[in-house]
Amino acid sequence: MITDNTVGGILLGEGILKGLTETAKNFAGSFVSAERLTTVEYPEQRVAPIEATRVFPFLVYDGKDWEAGMRCVACQICEKECPPKCIYIEKSKDKKPDAVGKPQFYPTKFDIDISVCMSCQICVEVCPFEAIKMDTEFELSTEDRFGGLLLGREQLSKSNEYYHEIHATEAANVDASLAAGRAKVDAKTTAVAIAAAVRGAEVPPRPAEGGD
């Protein structure tokens, strides 16, 4: 018989009476006060997801066209790091310009099997291009348990605006760091250009170099 936690109580059954009053209070209170009932009746009522919500990964693209603006460069780090091996990537043979116009490889195929994915977010952490992020979409039930749960490139691609919508702070940080990175690259290239120009002015150009 369980009484309360103070070992060696005096009256047997005291704890039971206390417990019964507590549950009776809950029972009566749930009819009277609305704040006791924390239940949200899901399909009709919804709670907005908290900012750190994560379900399955998606691919971020910049601009309007998902194929052109895809950040992913098919480096395949996420594929290698994925613990349950739910990512499958096929790297392109050719390069095409990314959002800033730099030629890059791109995935011709990027599949995530969400029936295998365990939402660990390791792919997000290892991605050096901020291309893969966690989505908040959770209503993913489907009648086809094989094909329906294997998401391809076009299903996975979602715009940067969408990313801002679901994870505002995180997306802002990502944008800032990307911009800083680009600024750095720009500064470097301009510095190199300036240096080259300066050097070009001082030193007469050498004879044309042969390929080495």
Binding site: M1, I2, T3, G9, L12, G19, N26
Partner: protein
């Protein structure tokens, strides 16, 4: 008119049976009552499952089922259809015959118990002189079915669950019987109708129910504890402790056979509550003499449902006991208390009608309760768990 309402079912049955030739009438009357019992209590079971789920929900500050029909009252229909359409799996290595028979034996023996319960004035299927004995004999056979289920499944969880269930039911059968024996001692009869009649008097408008006597109150509390354990209800639901045993003896049951076990458990709860009502709460008699015009069967079923609500309340409050706590509690506290209660009942009978017997009997029981509780908790037989190493 009042008389008519009270006897409405009896008169209706008489009228219905009257269409048959005289020779068939007794058999037809019995069959009719059987059919009514077989329909009524499963209906009550359906109602109770909703009541329980909603009640438990409210106790935990939830809403409970509210999707099927208005306020979720059609939930049992959905559950019933679901269990009927589910695949009925019999394990390959199971003893198929016994596996099939176990739920049937449970439901049949539990139904038999209802035969002797007086559910209203003159509303008892078989008014046998040793009704109480018959009831307990039938109640004891449920242990058989539980063990049949556990043994025939050939599954370690089933078997362990069945062993626990049988150990528990046998341990608590003793205090259950002992607390009822006090009633038999005072009434001088094993007939349940006679026991109700004996409580159906009033002084100053108040009834002479046995619960309003010191020995009756103590007996009722002990009876309630033993009944909870006997029906494997929380906090005594170790036989199906899912954290340890999957589902206990009905691990290997699915589909409608599982539903039958479920039904059997609830029916056992009804019948044992009905008996408790009959023994201590005055059966079908009204709680105040001025309410005598309300039909007797309404009182019986109100008291029955009230007991069910208490069962649900307890289930929503108490955590499950450990096996040794369960056994210690049965043999070291409840059984000695029921034995003492027998003595007190005898004392009550022989101390005459004065006020002395109230004082003496109450004092003995109260002192024994305090002393045994205190001693038991000090020695660690009952009460909070003591850790040998963790403290």
């Amino acid at each position: 008119m009042v008389e008519r309402m009270d006897q409405v079912f009896v008169l209706f049955a008489h009228w219905l049976v009257g269409f048959l030739p005289a020779g068939w009438q007794p058999v037809a009357a019995v069959l009719l009552s059987v059919v009514v019992i077989i329909c009524l209590f499963p209906a009550l079971f359906a109602l109770t499952t909703v009541l329980e789920r909603k009640g438990l929900g409210r106790i935990q500050n939830r809403i409970g089922p509210n999707r099927t029909g208005p306020f979720g009252i059609l939930q049992p229909v959905a559950d019933g259809i679901k269990s009927l359409t589910k695949e009925d799996i019999v394990p390959l290595s199971a003893d198929a015959v016994v596996h099939f028979l176990a739920p049937l034996v449970l439901v049949v023996t539990v139904f038999m118990g209802f035969a002797v319960l007086p559910m209203g004035r003159g509303m008892v299927l078989a008014d046998i002189d040793a009704g109480l004995l018959f009831f307990f004999a039938m109640g004891a056979s449920t242990e058989l079915s539980v063990f049949m289920a556990g043994w025939s499944s050939r599954n370690k969880y089933s078997l362990l669950g069945a062993m626990r269930a049988v150990a528990q039911m046998i341990s608590y059968e003793v205090p259950l019987l002992m607390s009822s024996v006090a009633v038999v001692m005072i009434t001088g009869s094993l007939s349940l109708s006679r026991i109700v009649e004996a409580q159906n008097h009033y002084t100053w408008g108040l009834p002479h129910w046995y619960i309003f006597t010191p020995w009756g109150l103590a007996g009722f509390v002990m009876y309630a504890i033993a009944a909870t354990a006997e029906t494997n209800r929380s906090p005594f639901d170790l036989p199906e402790g899912e954290s340890e045993l999957v589902a206990g003896y009905h691990t290997e049951y699915s589909g409608f056979k599982f539903a039958l076990f479920f039904l059997g458990e609830y029916l056992a709860m009804f019948s044992i509550s009905g008996l408790g009502t009959t023994l201590f709460l005055g059966g079908w008699s009204a709680p105040f003499s001025f309410l005598g015009w309300v039909p007797s069967w309404i009182w019986f079923f109100s008291k029955l449902m009230l007991s069910i609500c208490v069962f649900i309340w307890l289930r929503g409050t108490l955590p499950r006991l450990r096996q040794d706590q369960l056994m210690n509690f049965a043999w070291k506290f409840v059984l000695p208390m029921t034995l003492l209660n027998l003595m007190v009942a005898a004392l009550w009978r022989f101390l005459g009608d004065g006020w002395e017997r109230w004082v003496i009997c109450s004092a003995i029981l109260l002192l024994a309760y305090l002393a045994m509780g205190w001693l038991g908790m000090r020695q660690g037989h009952i009460g909070p768990r003591r850790y040998r190493y963790a403290d």
